[in-house]
Symmetry: C2
Subunit: 368 residues, 2 copies
Amino acid sequence: MSDREDRQVLVVGTGLIGTSIGLALSAAGSQVWLSDRDPKACKVASERGAGDPLAGDAKPSLVVIAVPPRSVPVVAAEYLTLFPEATVTDAASVKTMPLTRLAEIAPNQLDRFVGGHPMAGREVAGPQAGRSDLFEDRLWVITPSESNEPATVDDVRWLARTCGSLVVELTPVEHDRAVALTSHVPQLLASVLAAQLTDADSGDVAVSGQGLRDVTRLADSVPELWAEILASNAPDVLAVLRRVTAELQQVAESLERVAQADYNRELPADFAPVREVLERGNQGRNALPDKHGGAAHDYDVIPVVVDDKPGELARLFAAAGEADVNLEDVRIEHTVGRLRAIIELDVDPTASPRLRKLLQESGWQIRG
Amino acid sequence: MSDREDRQVLVVGTGLIGTSIGLALSAAGSQVWLSDRDPKACKVASERGAGDPLAGDAKPSLVVIAVPPRSVPVVAAEYLTLFPEATVTDAASVKTMPLTRLAEIAPNQLDRFVGGHPMAGREVAGPQAGRSDLFEDRLWVITPSESNEPATVDDVRWLARTCGSLVVELTPVEHDRAVALTSHVPQLLASVLAAQLTDADSGDVAVSGQGLRDVTRLADSVPELWAEILASNAPDVLAVLRRVTAELQQVAESLERVAQADYNRELPADFAPVREVLERGNQGRNALPDKHGGAAHDYDVIPVVVDDKPGELARLFAAAGEADVNLEDVRIEHTVGRLRAIIELDVDPTASPRLRKLLQESGWQIRG
């Protein structure tokens, strides 16, 4: 609400997210104050250039509460009271339950609170992991309500944009439903599947490939933080999880019937639910947005054999660069026990023949 | 069992797998015969160079049954009878149930049957998709039994190696248990999760990122084939699926309890099962083999900002090549709505500082 050029921002909680916000705002020229209940974390963030430890003469017009979701209501209420002119926002990946609780404990100050969720993270935590560009080109969901003054919402939009993010406005209910489906339940499925590997025979796991790696990648996430996120979005996560488990139950019933049926060429008719799930899985993949926010593209895949040694990728991409073809995606598929790899290049179908021809002329081995 | 240089091989079923085997063996100099109940598929495979349509004077010493799993027993029995001297193998991704059924219908000929599973595939099907190098550097599981003559097993090892694969010997039971865990249940979870996206609000799906993409990638698979694979391995798939659904059920119960509890800073104690699943998920990821078959590596990740236009990757990899550093993996993370991307380079920690320095000196923007 003050002039933004010399605005003062207070960041409460100097973990990965808070420190990254402090670094981005400091780099943009704002006066940033830092606070954390762990003075050491605050000191580390400050020494890294994220801002100055909160001092008595601080007059922040914007307070960013970057604490775990379940601490947001209490901490936000505290700072709404401490700075009665300031806009207060948060950075938690769940919006409804913290806001409901805040409405109970600070009902008269909600007009100055606008929820926020910068959609970026790393698998590492703490102020040491903070990066000034963590939010660049990421979505930053904000959840304004009708009780908010326009200038208050503008403060939070300014915060997101100054950190380099694209602002998306949703209601808290829309936000929580969306992330339950696209982030929280995927996290649970990845973790539960990866958990099965802990008890498995190492020989069983040895026959795994890239597919298992992809499905379980999210299982690398930090357990403490994710337990809190899942708990804070329990109703929405439950709604999606119940649909998933109901479908898995149907699949299990079909499998039971087929296990008891004679093993013939024809699948029993009551195996149809499994085929339908597989077909709907195909359709669901087509519903994913592509990188520019539109519907998914079909790219041509060019699989190229390269030796697994320094410089080979450089040679390949130099050759691809000559064709003036944009690479939409690249995957390295390593082969077990051998020192070469398949590089899969995704390119626009109209450009694909040109690139194939040029690579072949340059002596590259293209599979298929 | 004959001299392998001039051996005759019959491939029954000229889909993706059969055609690829025919192409590989033909390229290696074998006389390959082809058969398919669809004469058109056989003709396409033959015209592509996979072999000659089966003729009356054919004398195959090895028959490869490359038909869907549920057709394997009947077709294998047919060819065991037709060529009473030949070794017969298959290429199905399930081993126990087809073998059990074959033992019922051709009990006296099992000594000449050795199960096989070349672990490669594509998302596309049919003889047009066949590639001579589909199996190169892939695992090819074979499942010999004590009733097999050593020479019979050698025939199948020869087949796998001639196609460029690494041979792994397992019992049918070991094989089916391993693929249920590492391939079949991951397929189901990916498909069921992706299926949820079909009914979702497009706005909900719009806030998704790379995580959802990775978890659901397997959902692109061909439904017909996968319905049969899952049905053919029903008991083992069920065993893993029941463990997964039991854990998801526990998670759901924890979520129900926490949804009813007061929303405070502290998580209720009975939310521990969720935290444990997340922790075991971390451990399970560490159990995955790395690309050379050993335990997983920790690589340093170097995130580099590049413009999303032709030639930029070439410039980056040329710079990386100068550092003489081997890239273990590469991921392109596109940003929504903007024309630049983050390229994540995975490199050995000992080489990482050198590469970072060189990239920075060359003017590349490294994040963090």
